[in-house]
Amino acid sequence: MKNTASKAIFTLLCCLPMNFILAQTEAGNTGSSYFTYTLIALAVIIFLFIVIQVADNLISIEARQLGVAGGNSFSLFPKWSEIFSSRKPAYLNGEKVTVLKQGHDILLEGGAEKHIKGIAQVATFAIQPANFIGVSPIPKLEVEVGQEVKAGDILYADKKRPYLKWAAPVSGEIVAINRGEKRAIAEIVIMADKTIQYRQFPRFALETADRAELVAYLMDAGIWPLIRQRPFHLIPDEDTIPRDIFISTFDTAPLAPDLNLVVDGQEVAFQKGLDVLAKLTSGQVHLGLDASSENAPHAAFTQARGVAKHWFSGKHPAGNVGIQIHHIRPIGGADDVVWTVGVQEVITIGKLFTEQKYDASRVVVLSGAELEQPQYVQTWQGANLGDLVKGNLKTEKVRIISGDVLSGVKKDTSSFLNFFDDQVSVILEGDYFALFGWLLPTLNVPSVSPTFPSALLKDTTFRADTNTHGEKRAFVVTGNYEEVLPMDIYPQMLFKSILTGDFERMEGLGIYELAEEDVALCEFVCVSKQPIQEILRKGLETMRAQA
């Protein structure tokens, strides 16, 4: 069908010059004869189209009879895909690719070389209960200050859902339990041993055990918080059976870690993790694979067994699991539960079964233009940020972010990497006044707008800072959120419905399909400088309270 359309358009284009000739002979005539000429021109075009189409078919029949390989490539018409779509990489082998047109890659300076520098010198690690949504701020502590723990020992359990337990990422001494506002527990800090001692778990027979046993085993090992549930982006309840489980194997956020590097050498654990997850869902485990890079993704991803693979090609947020769910099997409502797990978390799950230990080691990318040496390092969950960037900062006036610059969290050198984060971004603080900042075509400001010359120069990288480049305003511009959100959703309408508290519309417009990271780019491009992620979270919390 598409091919026929392309043929028709191509013929029309070829006949366009003829139209001009006709129009010229018409000049000086009255309007009515112009119609006649147009009709004649149309008839001629259709006639030519038929002739070319017949000839085209005859050639391909001839080619097939002669047994020439690829008879279709003799077509007189260039194929739609040949003209417009970029050449698909060879490793795809003709697999179906979901091409996402909308999106934007923010190219920042300070990307790390693709090589793991070794184990980072980090003294303290922390688990932060506030990293989780829907968990009571004062959990039930299982440890106290001064106590020695092994990696995998339970640190605390949730008050509302006591089966939810968090494990220590490293072995060592509990040196502090820091409290925040209203005596909420902010951090449980562990001074790590030189060599990590692991709590040994009993061997688990994955093939013979039933699901309930598996769940109990995972709960006890503190694995459960590694899994997140959509809608709402929470830790799942113990008795929910997810419709499907989704894993994105690539991260498109600015300066995000290359997960191919992360999974290298962990193939067995990753596959084991997938096997475990497959037992937890009533549906399937879905892998989202990157089809836009030149080289094939790591074999651990492409050769993964027992999972459904889906190829995605596009700019950020194509690597976001929420976007991939939308294009694989979208979330239907509040009760349509799916899970998402990150690649490093899958490896942690796998290691519990291959090595009988809770291994929370993480490959973390230290990125950003304000670092002397952006690099990949090996460390553990919740590493101290000050230790991670020690001696690596160019200036003092920087912002240290746990996560990427779009949806990460502002931290300082005394705080810790967030639970799910495998990236540290360091950028300049931008508290300066820019003379005629709203007018001048500045070069060093990332933007989707062609009013900045950088939008014309492809591959320009930016040394971005935290300046807002303008003040907050009411929603004025329309259509620019849609250009960076590759989903069948009207974001601006959704955000407005959240602000007005219209439950039915929020639900109808697809709030369940979104998490903050998915709309982070909308917030980035927002001309009115609205806090989009905050608005979405407010909406999600309202809906969760309703459900």
């Binding site: 950028i427 006044f433 709203w438 990332p446 303008g470 329309t478 109808g508 417009l509 001309v527 400088k529």
Partner: protein, 426 residues
């Protein structure tokens, strides 16, 4: 230089509590000179360089060609009507000065009244001055007849900003296009100043039933003194008779009387295209407007969908009326409709206002197309309104939320259906 300017600004900053209005005023000018030093808190850590000021200013930039040409054309039309300097490039200095004398008061009054109201409300509500009026204020002088009395202009601007915008909650909340609201106010409250054949050429008065040129007052005298010093032509005293056959009619009113033939008796197609014809100040020169429109499309400030669909809508309706072919105006070939009137100006600058247009991509196609259709209907079929775009756009402004409602509802239904199918599958 930048640092000393910053220091100066900080020194003159008025106290916010003691004089809120002065502080708002100060804040407006300060943020005009300097993009503020606010940094991101929570949410994204880096922000796109685009803000509302930049967005609005680029529309104003795109309008500059229209301003330049419009100003000159005021003078050109005036002198052509008097039979002097009929060549486009004759008497350049006189035409330019004449145009400036006409347009500067319009521009100043528009901004003093409009910005005054904006500043007042910004101070009252305690928020920064919003940029919406930058564009409205630049558009309003371009869509008014050059001889519009300034008190009417002031009234219309006050009406548009007060009732049309501030009553609805300020920039981004208005339902109707502010600039067009100002124009429609004049149109219905003081119709004789903005319709008919007598208002489109500046400085032609009707004295005892005969048209004569205006008297040149003291300000022209000042320029005459300069010009004579430089050895150039001068304005003189004025009160000259107009040329034979002068009517001041625009192509549209001629087309209504006798179709395309009647139009071409007075104006050539080239004149209409390039815009050396009487009309509102900034809407006559099509190539310059299209250039501005392309600039807006290229910089993604305005939505191309609305522009394209509006052209399609106008062409579609034009063809339909050609086929119907009852009055002489209906017989005007559809493509000539683009030569006459202010279609392109309405398309590039009025219909694309993001606040009042439809907000969804599909909605924009429908919105633009219907403006095109309705505008041509009003232009050709309604004797009372010689040009249709103002009314068509205001009409569709009212319907834009409805269009969006149905487009969004379709999305909601699609999602609900999908959820049901999913449930049935499980």
């Amino acid at each position: 230089m930048k640092q000393s300017l910053l220091k100066f600004f900080h020194k003159i900053e008025p106290d916010k509590k003691k004089s809120p209005f002065l502080h708002t005023l100060y804040d407006g000018f300060f943020t005009f000179a300097f993009a503020p030093n606010i940094t991101t808190k929570g949410g994204v850590h880096i922000r796109d360089g685009m803000d509302l000021k930049r967005q609005m200013v680029h529309v104003v930039l795109a309008l500059q060609l229209c301003y330049l040409f419009g100003t000159y054309n005021i003078g050109h039309q005036h002198f052509v009507a008097l039979g002097e300097y009929t060549g486009f490039l004759q008497g350049v200095h006189l035409k330019l000065i004449y145009g400036l004398i006409k347009i500067l008061p319009i521009f100043v009054v528009t901004h003093v009244v409009g910005l005054g109201i904006e500043f007042y409300y910004a101070a009252k509500k305690g928020h920064g001055i919003e940029e919406g009026f930058l564009v409205s204020g630049a558009l309003i002088p371009l869509i008014m007849p050059p001889d519009l009395p300034l008190w009417i202009l002031a009234l219309s601007v006050a009406f548009a900003v007060w009732i049309g915008k501030e009553a609805f909650g300020g920039t981004g909340m208005n339902v109707l296009n502010i600039a067009l609201l100002a124009r429609v106010f004049v149109f219905f409250a003081y119709p004789t100043y903005i319709s008919g054949d007598d208002v489109w050429i500046a400085g032609i008065d009707k004295v005892d039933g005969a048209y004569v040129g205006q008297e040149y007052g003291w300000i022209y005298g000042v320029f005459d003194w300069i010009f004579s010093g430089l050895g150039l032509d001068t304005f003189g005293a004025g009160r000259m008779a107009v040329v034979d056959g002068y009517s001041g009619a625009t192509p549209l009113s001629l087309a209504f009387q006798g179709g395309w033939e009647k139009v071409t008796e007075t104006y050539s197609a080239g004149q209409m295209l390039w815009g050396t014809i009487p009309g509102s100040v900034g809407e006559t020169s099509k190539p310059l407007i299209v250039l501005g429109a392309l600039f807006l499309i290229f910089t993604k400030i305005a939505d191309w969908r609305i522009m394209v669909s509006m052209v399609l809508g106008a062409a579609f309706m034009g063809i339909l009326l050609n086929l119907w072919d009852v009055t002489p105006f209906m017989a005007v070939p559809w493509y000539y409709h683009f030569y006459m009137g202010s279609f392109f100006f309405a398309m590039a600058y009025m219909a694309t206002d993001p606040v009042t247009a439809a907000g969804t991509p599909t909605g924009k196609w429908i919105y633009g197309f219907l403006i095109g259709v309705i505008g041509i209907i009003i232009r050709v079929l309604n004797k009372a309104y010689p040009e249709g775009w103002m009314l068509a756009i205001l009409f569709m402004n009212v319907f834009a939320p409805l269009i969006d409602y149905y487009v969004v509802q379709a999305n909601i239904n699609r999602r609900a259906k999908r959820a049901q199918a999913l449930k049935a599958g499980v």
